[in-house]
Structure formats: structure tokens, C-alpha cells
Amino acid sequence: MGLLDKQLNDGNIVVTKVEDLLNWARLNSVWQVGFGLACCAIEMMATSASHYDFDRFGVIPRPSPRQSDVIIISGTVTLKMALRVKRLYEQMPDPKYVISMGSCSNCGGPYWEHGYHVLKGVDRVIPVDVYVPGCPPRPEALLEGLLKLQEKIRNESIVKKSA
């Protein structure tokens, strides 16, 4: 578990790798873009609220993409919105992550066949790190999606490029 299981040689000294330190810091403060699209956004807000308390994992909604690490695509991405989603993503500073929440943003969901206005998966415009299934996913599912993302960040390397 990152830093916490490292040997403490002295009361005030922790020995670790720079990489582990960076990853530990990053994965425990993934700030999200304060951005919601459809009914999934209601579940996302419930996840942020006191009962599920997204903040205990360090997820805080930020009012600007410039201050954010993760964008949760919570809902149906219409073709009109897709251009805006792409712009928001491009405005975020690196390293940046994407959680695709719910069937609509995963693959078009119920609009896959007759949704003339729906983008069939947000991964057609921006790269997605974690897909959370559900329609909409329960807060627990979104929390697990975040834990998956944290696992991904924990294994990142500043030297090796991840795929």
C-alpha cells in the first residue's frame, strides 16, 4: 500500500522511491472537473455528498478544468456536447484521467441504434481510463471505478510510458 507499508528506519524518516511518492500523492488527490451531463450526474453528485463522501478518497469537484486531474463523463454525450467535452479535456493539465460513467458514455447505451444525436461512446473523442457500467451506476460502482483508477495511477512510472 504505497508509502504506508515502507520500513520506518527512524521516527521521522520514510524511505521510499520518488515514483511511489509521486503516485501516492497523485492518487490520493484526484480532483474532478465539476461537470455533469445527465441522470448519471445525479448519482455522481450523490457520491460526492455526505453519505458516500467522495472526498474521503481525495476527490473534490473543481470549478475549472485547469485545476482538475480527472473528468467523469457522467451521462449521455450528444454530438453537440462531444465537442465541448473534448475542449474541456484539452483544457485539463497533464497528468489527466477520464472515467466514463454509465452505459451512454461507454457505448451509447439505449441510444446506440436510433440515437441520431448521440455519440456512441465518449472514447471516440477522448481516451478513457476506466469504464463504469450501469444505467446509471450506483455510487458504490462509481467508487469502485475510482479505486480502479487509483490502482492504475499507483502503478504508473515517470520513466516508462504507460500504454
Binding site: 451509447g108 456512441k120 471516440r124
Partner: protein, 176 residues
């Protein structure tokens, strides 16, 4: 409280042939047709006459009647030729507690009809939606732009029966 039949008779006396085709006995509301050029005058009359006072346009919606000829291409898609598109107006009088439904049919090739946005301000966005999705041309509308689809959508009006979705929009693949 006036029934649709009574409203129809009043309008018949005032506008003559501009109102026609009273349909009753349906499982849905009774309705009658109004000519596309007279609809605004009829609506003003319905709103301002003391015994009618239809002050509220509850909804304005468009329909592709799909009564034209279908020309099927080799790939199975078809184009509709002829026939009509229709706009339905659901009016309500909040003071007299009465309702009436109007229908305006226009030819598919020239879907022009008078806007009622000046009669009820709420009609503005409803007409924009009907224009966006079915493609009516509301004459004298203050701001007839698309309201739901992107402004640069070039593939036509999606709720027409012969609508074909494009392969790409702004570099994004549209079909599944």
C-alpha cells in the same frame, strides 16, 4: 366552457374555409384543421375573443404524416415524395377552463406556415424545435434557428420519416 365543436362553429362563421375538417369521436382529443396562412389570425381571435380566451399555448408539436409516396433506393433507404407535414396546437383557456386542438397541414416540399410566436411568446422555442426536428418554415418567426441539434448540422431534420443519419459529424463517427 366551449366544446371543440362549438369553437369550430364560431371560427367557421368568422374565417369560413380557412377552418375545416372537424374530427370527433376519436380516442384522442377532437381537432380541426386551419389553413397555414390563416393560423396566426385564427390564434389571435381565439386568444382575444371574450367567450374563448385561449391565453395559454400548452404545446405545439410537429408530425411527419408519412402519407406521401416512398421511393426506395437499392440500399433499402427511402425518400418521401409529396404528402404532408402537420403542426398541432394544444390551446387552453386558464380562465374559462376549456381546451381546443388545432391542426395545420403543409406540403412536405413547401412546409411554410405563419408563426404564432407573436400571439404566445412561449411558441417561440416550440416552433424552433419543430423547425429543427421536422423542418417547418415558420414565416415571420423572430429567430428561427435550430434549438436542439448543433447549429452546423447539415444532415436535415431528424424526425422526418425519410431522414438519413450522416456517417460523420465534425470528424466523429455517428453510427454505432
Amino acid at each position: 366552457m366551449k366544446s371543440t365543436e362549438e369553437v369550430f362553429e364560431i371560427l367557421k362563421g368568422r374565417f369560413g374555409d380557412a377552418v375545416s375538417n372537424l374530427v370527433t369521436g376519436q380516442p384522442v382529443e377532437s381537432y380541426f384543421s386551419v389553413s397555414p396562412t390563416e393560423i396566426k389570425n385564427v390564434c389571435l381571435f381565439l386568444r382575444d375573443t371574450d367567450e374563448l380566451l385561449f391565453d395559454n399555448l400548452m404545446v405545439l408539436s410537429g408530425v411527419d404524416d408519412d402519407n406521401g409516396e416512398r421511393k426506395t433506393a437499392e440500399d433499402g433507404t427511402f425518400t418521401s415524395v409529396g404528402g404532408t407535414l402537420s403542426v398541432f396546437y394544444h390551446l387552453e383557456s386558464t380562465s374559462l377552463k376549456q381546451k381546443v386542438t388545432l391542426k395545420v397541414s403543409v406540403p412536405r416540399e413547401t412546409p411554410d406556415l405563419e408563426s404564432v410566436a407573436e400571439v404566445w411568446r412561449g411558441a417561440d422555442w416550440h416552433e424552433r424545435e419543430a423547425y429543427d426536428l421536422i423542418g417547418f418554415n415558420f414565416l415571420n418567426h423572430p429567430d428561427l434557428r435550430r434549438i436542439l441539434m448543433p447549429y452546423d448540422w447539415e444532415a436535415g431534420h431528424p424526425l422526418r420519416k425519410d431522414y438519413k443519419n450522416p456517417e460523420f459529424y465534425q470528424g466523429m463517427k455517428v453510427p454505432y
